[in-house]
Amino acid sequence: MTITETLGTWSALFMLLAAMTYLVAFVAFAWDMASHSRTLRRAEHHSRRDEQLVGAATAPAQVNSTAGTTKKADDSRPGLGANERGRGHKPPTRAVLAEHVADSSMRYTGERRPAARAALTIMVLAFLLHTAAVASRAIAAGRVPWGNMYEFATTGALVVAGVYLAALLRRDLRFVGTLVSGLVVIMLCAATIGFPTPVGPLVPALQSWWLVIHVSIAVAASGIFTITFAMAVLQLLQARRERAILAGEAPGMGFLAMVPSSQALENLSFRLNAVGFVFWTFTLAAGAIWAEQSWGRYWGWDPKEVWTFVIWVVYAAYMHARATRGWTGTRSAWLSIAGYLCVIFNFTVVNTVFEGLHSYSGL
């Protein structure tokens, strides 16, 4: 066997190991959710009893404010011409909710969560294996590891895990660990089962610096969108639970007690999505420049281009939603989810089913 083949085999092996390790991390995260939220639920139960003594009368009256409509006569905090994005609850409502959700600053509190610690350690291990897999493939091929769908998916998953782990350094985002590790496992399985491709050279049309620029930024943007997708899902669940809490009903979904408020999730995913949108804008333009160089036109409405445009427009709508009355909160979360579904569609169906100039899937 040649060096290339050996490395390629190693890469595949590492990839498999990484996928299995992520799977273990996923289980550990889920375990953490279950055990930690049981603890939290017990605390919640106590506080609910107190609440019935002091605050029960006010809670149902504020149900509407979850939808962001009640006018706040008592809130006179100044605003810059009322330009605030997002919605909020007035302090008493927030105090009620604070009992049931994690702190919105998403800082580490130093409380002991052995399952979460194990999950993180395993995830880091998986990430290292994954990095080794992608790197050995890149060395084997002698080029950047994003020349076909297998490589987009595996490198994309690496970016997802990397962005997530990097974000964990600054914020306690362990509550999305289950979703993120789950998505990474799915991406790796999809790559290995769906689009297996041996190491090979690039066709001339892909031999360009623009491949490095355009695709790396696209993969990075997709990684960010994956994380905000996970957060949007949690936001929707949390918003439902908050409504139930404010209505005085049993909230259910106890694991959400370890997740910050829907408002905090929305704020953070907005900022991440803003970065993702900037990346995607760049992807789109770099793609146009590359297309201009290799096909002589910067935009030709090839199916891949159509979907890149659709994704861009959906996220532009998302950026607007945050500044549009009636579109914050749940609706903007749905827009974020819609955007991500378009990203997935663009990657899977458009690459494999639609005929176009971008037929580099390697299938």
């Binding site: 006018k71 605003g79 011409g81 919105s104 049309a205 002589g296 959906v314 009355r325 009636g326």
Partner: protein, 596 residues
Amino acid sequence: MTAGNPSRPSPGVRKAGMSTTASSRESSTARGAGSSSAAGLGKSDVELPALGPLGMARWAWTQLTKMNTALFLLLLLAVAAVPGSIFPQRIQDPAAVQDYIDNNPALGEWLDRVQLFDVFSSAWFSAIYILLFVSLVGCVLPRAAKHWRAWRAEPPRTPRRLERLPEHRSLALGGRDGAGAPAPGDVVADAARLLRRRGYRVAVRDTGSAAPSVAAERGMWKEVGNIVFHLALLGVLVSVAVGSLFGYKGQKILVEGESFANTLINYDSFTPGTNYNPDWLDPFSVRLDRFEAVFNRDTTDPRSYGAPLDFTAEITVQEPGAEPQPETLKVNAPVNVNGVKSFLIGNGYAPVIRVTDGNGDVAFEGPVVTIPSDGVYTSSLVLKVPDARPDQLGFTGLLLPTAVTGPDGMPRSVDPGLANPQLILSSYYGDLGLDSGVPQNVYVLDVEELTELNGMLSQSGPIAIDAANPVHELPEGKGTIEFLDVKRYVGLDIVYDPGRFGAFISFVLAFTGLLMSMFISRRRVWVRAAKGVDEHGRACTVLEYGLLARGEDPRLATEAERLSKLFTEQWGTADPPGDPAAHRSTNRAWSGPNHD
């Protein structure tokens, strides 16, 4: 920026209506009614005013320039683009559209009527983006005017109660060790200087009073970025329009040794922009000197053996009255002649063939362009010889660059390189129908009216000619065909797009604007100084300051800390900076503004 008085919020005014007073008024109506469901997009959330045509127009304009409408139009645009990826599009592949219509006559005709094969030039798609851009202009221009005024105005008045701001701190200055406290007026002047150095624009207020203050603001470029971003999008649209009006695109196949002069008749296909006059074509010419294709010869990996690695065309460009200029053309590296770009988009083999007719005259001699159909360049060939006498001749078949005979006795190509080129052809005679005046595809031979001479199934078998056996005698004395050589050809796209540059500049502007708009923070700071007493009852100067961000700004607390540090460095303090209550409010501010 209407909030002249920042202590009186008007939640969400700008959220619904961008900037016009009419729309803000209207959005407060919506809020008053307590409607939460985005207030319906297409339908209005106000009573239709009976105002006559002018009033109606104003009303329509107000509706169009609302944020809700922009959002709705954006989503509509996304949805409207989707069919463009599902159905074949004429701009992509007119033949595929025709196939689709032929295969689904009823549905196809109906789809065609609603322009689903021309989505991106359709009336409905155009309507959406034109409305969107009208909305954009109606949105952004008033916003720009407003920002211009805000820029020229001073930062807003200092609120009476700074402790209500999302970030609030206070410091007690002086009074320690019997030192005199600095005068409030001086403190404020120094604070103004410090803030200006941090990039704030400042206005000192109430000088000479007991509690002078300074109002400061930074991040005015954020809004500029937003406006530039939106206007630059308009620039992109205009540039694209310029390109499609005044540009052109043509295709030309060029065999090694051949030249191409840039005039209309020389193109294989030519698509002018709507307003392009072919007389404007720049009269240069291009000769293909040599074409080289490099295939993977690394035998270690059989799967990618023979895969194409590199295509290079050596060409000579000749402009009128200038020296011939040698150039290299590659797949991702076009050659630019005065803004007209030539792109290498295809390549293949052109076998050189000589056909002698039944009368013994040479009826055809030259390269015949073939179309590669797979990775080993199995290429299909069609040759029509209308000049052959007594009968016109036609040939169809394959060029196999590296021919091998398989175990089944069928020859096929095993490699894209020219190791053993062979032609496998059928031949026909009869009327080729070229004189009927109906234009014909050169790559298709309609054999229905012709009589077969050679063929896979015919008695005489197919023609198989190669270097060892270059000549084949046609049956019935119809002539001979001779395989002389193989040349390479390139397929060129020749494109002129005068909007390209404008589109690029617009994009750069849009991207810069986007970065500015997203990552600059707009903040206001108010600092007030007054005589007071510290917690030990000593006389001091109390420096109080509050910060406010536009939108959600998680780093507002960090900025407050920075200012605290600056101020303590400037004056030293009687007490550790800040009070615990202020720190608690920091957390609250992070979780977002307290407005609906």
